[in-house]
Amino acid sequence: MAAAFDEMNGPGGELRPAYQELSRWLNETPPEALEYRRQEAELLFRRIGITFAVYGDAEAQERLIPFDVIPRILSGREWTILEKGLKQRVRALNMFLRDIYHGREILSAEVVPDDLIFQNPVFRPEMNGQHVPHDVYVHIAGIDIVRVDAADFIVLEDNARTPSGVSYMLENREIMMRLFPDLFARHRIAPVEQYPDELLAALRSVAPQSASAEPTVALLTPGVYNSAYYEHTFLADKLGIEVVEGRDLIVKNDEVFMRTTEGLKQVDVIYRRVDDDFIDPLTFRPDSALGVPGLMSAYAAGNVTLANAVGTGIADDKAIYSYMPDIVKFYLGEEPILKNVQTWRCREPKDLAYVLDHLDELVVKEVHGSGGYGMLIGPAATRATIEAFRDKLKREPEGFIAQPTLALSTCPTCTAKGLAPRHVDLRPFVLTGSKRTTIVPGGLTRVALKEGSLVVNSSQGGGTKDTWILDE
């Protein structure tokens, strides 16, 4: 694998313009001062209670996501391109979903094969012909972006269900501004704090027509034990809305109400952070205690808006992902601005043969997996792991896709041995309301803290950084 592109010190070792001021500051600042502020940051995070839970890890039910104090910086020009590309991508995702659950032109045109949709467990037949306000399905998207060089932004994954992480984007910035006022004074950094306002505006704009001019929005959480629970309360607080659990809601005559100390109060828009499977035990998993019985029938009656819509999983599925460039072209007649990672679909015999021959070079992912679980990173895997994967692939090829191992770009990061380059990705958050799509300039940068590691997931030892977009 070639040396990775470093975002501060470019290919020839030259300092890239966006990092000039930071580099100067780092040279002036003694390592002890940096270390001191790093510890301060950790203390602040723990005090505020920003933790996440790792499933299956009883020892550390609540952990801190490590925070790296060295910011990741993008120039204004880079952001302009990225922003345009993200808007294009999310427009296509929404049009694709509308089409899949209505006319299915894209299937008739044979751009995407039928069986990928109809045999997919995340396809929701309940949504066939269902109207959603303003045809918006994905109100909140988290698009994972990586870079391998200075030229392109590449989409690694589209998250169109219940993407999380935006609270870290906001809190990271707060903490950086508290700890490094001097550094902020030397840059012009686009603010991110307007995100909650923009989110609330987007959510209200898609309320059912029957709702009042001041629609009631609530955030539906699976509860305290969910790994993103902190984020749910954080956002609800910033939005000034209630954070509700399934048991707080009740459906009567196809209308949704929350139980309050003053009786029942109608809810118009539900920003739900509960997966489709658990949202209504009458329609989906009957054993779900997290959901609201009857919610889907209120949804079908058009009396409540769910954000994101039910059935969006069909758009961010890893098997569908490989068709995204074609999907963009089909609906918009434009060339995709953001690149896709080259993807081999193991369901196709030719691709499978290639993958089986090159397992030690490729990353193999489960089509329905997420969180960095259940994937094979060929170059880092042992012989035995590779062979085990080979068997799995042969048994169930349609369950997997493969991609080349990308040399993700790196950013300088605090390590035990001082600053060193570590691999990063970026998750910007794209909001779509009735009239427009907006993206706050920034996003969540995740960093693989272990030397050489490419896995940035917080559940697998990744950390986060503040992401700066320079306002030039």
Partner: protein, 314 residues
Amino acid sequence: MLSRTAENLYWLARYVERAEYLARTIDATLRVTALPAAYIGKTNEWDSALLTAGAAASFYEHYQEANEHNVIEYLSFSPTNPSSIRNCIEAARLNARSVRTALTSEMWDTINGAWIELQEVWSKGTLSRDDLAKFLRFVQETSLRFDGSAYRTMLRNDAYWFSRMGVHLERADNTARILDVKYHVLLPEEEHVGGPLDFYQWSSILRSVSALTAYHWVYRETLKPWLIADLLILNDALPRSLASCYGNLVRNLDQIGVAYGRQGPAQRHARGIRNRLEHSNMNDIFQHGVHEFIQEFIADNFRLGEIITKQYLI
């Protein structure tokens, strides 16, 4: 507000108050048991600590003997005792986490900070006397900080009133329980069999409700059992007296009633209890039996909790 939010706030406050009360009870019991045997008589003080904590029955499912080590362990650290200080703090934090948005950051900081700090204490196993004293003080300080931050930082709306109701209902229960267990040492002189030994019992009762100094300020007298009973039951000026708790409960319920524009059984039941306290005097209470009076109060107080739950919290 969401019923569940109100419920969490109410229980959060109750758990913090209960943790403080347990810490005070253990503290007071340690003081009494440190006296030479001749001063405290034959009663097992650790047994009565269990009784005042309402934990006697479950205790004997796990232990043979109510001695210092066992009782402190059970009341302070035991994960199996649902009302141990440890479980109170755990439950308080869980409730706080569920209603993060309804708490001010100062309140959250107090509970979360205490929880983090106490994780270390739990992992230590048996504490030395020094560490135990530190721990008990820390629990009491946490409650004071929590109370203080609620008082100083919360908006005066239903969230605040539900939280205060939790405090006062729990407090009334605790004061009544200690009276229930110790009533026999509070009977007027001619009736009870004891003697000068009781002095230490009396001061111990006052200590567990942090009212020893208050007693002297109010009565300017040596410790007299009927005055102690008067202070803890009827004296409006003492924050932990039954009368004061009910003055506050009625006020909080009224505030909620006004804000919501609706009264209910909770308001009426609370007023009923307060009126009975207002129209009582110690002579009548002794005449009819302190024990009966207290037991009736405990049942009434419990009933108010049920009514509040039904009216607002579910």
